[in-house]
Amino acid sequence: MKAAVIVFPGSNCDRDAAVALREATGKPPAMIWHRDSALPKVDLVVVPGGFSYGDYLRSGAMAARSPIMQDVIRRAKDGVPTLGICNGFQILTEAGLLPGALMRNAGLKFVCRSVSLRVENSQTFFTAGYAVNQVVQFPIAHADGNYFADDDTLDRLEGEGRVAFRYATPDGETSPEGNPNGSSRNIAGIFNAAKTVLGLMPHPERAADPMHGGTDGRIMFDAMARALG
């Protein structure tokens, strides 16, 4: 599998993503600068976490209109698997590849800690390494992770199996106690209709090595490496 990681001014998880991809695939990904206008031929595009363009205007708003994102949008619409983590999730919603928006955390604070997530759909090449209802631990680090969409959109996401992960308590209850940021229906990550695009606020690449304190995120990179060759 050949992957590309997009690098914006203000990205800060691009190298973490690159290390996780290298460990899972044995090959370093191509690092693509935001001013480039075309991606190389790749099997996976990762839009990493960080604070692209200083979060000016809205988190992800400027990055979504950058030159490279126009090619990322084109490729994603053609079916090239695309993974947006944290700021990358915000960018994918701003780019219109995923529905809804990430708003200021309900508690108004930047939240930086490990959270429990319940796996909602394991029938995708991102999540095939997990079991449905399995509880995994990923770190979160964001101020704007409060997922919002109107009720019709939320119903559609749930009806089509497009919720990837929900915030949960350690025993898998998707209750308000398990929700760190006020996200609608505890949603932490969603797929596009074809399930070839995944956006999530938690950081699998920061739970990909025993030195990180957990390896639940490594499972996602290994599953992608298996599925995408």
């Binding site: 708003a61 209109r65 928006a101 708003m103 309900a106 919002f148 969409a149 006020g182």
Partner: protein, 80 residues
């Protein structure tokens, strides 16, 4: 010509910042404060002098960048 764009959250979209401002106003002793909503204002100097053309141009700016119409409404004021 100058354009002033007012961007506000749609009704029904939770505004935790507005809520916090409301609580702070109450804590300062202001009575009778109801719902508080926070938005933003963007001022743009335009070369265009024709109001209809200027409005059309700024509307396109709003749709393409300035507002996220999933969660936000916008109102455009023009002044020469």
């Amino acid at each position: 010509m100058k354009a002033r764009v007012h961007i506000t959250l749609k009704s029904g979209v939770l505004d935790p910042q507005g809520k916090a401002i409301g609580h702070a106003l109450e804590a300062l002793g202001f009575e009778g404060v109801g719902d508080v909503r926070q938005g933003k204002v963007i001022e743009i100097d335009l070369v265009e002098e024709d109001p209809a053309k200027a409005r059309k141009q700024v509307e396109e700016m709003c749709r393409k960048l300035l507002a996220n119409t999933v969660i936000e409404n916008y109102v455009i004021d023009l002044a020469s």
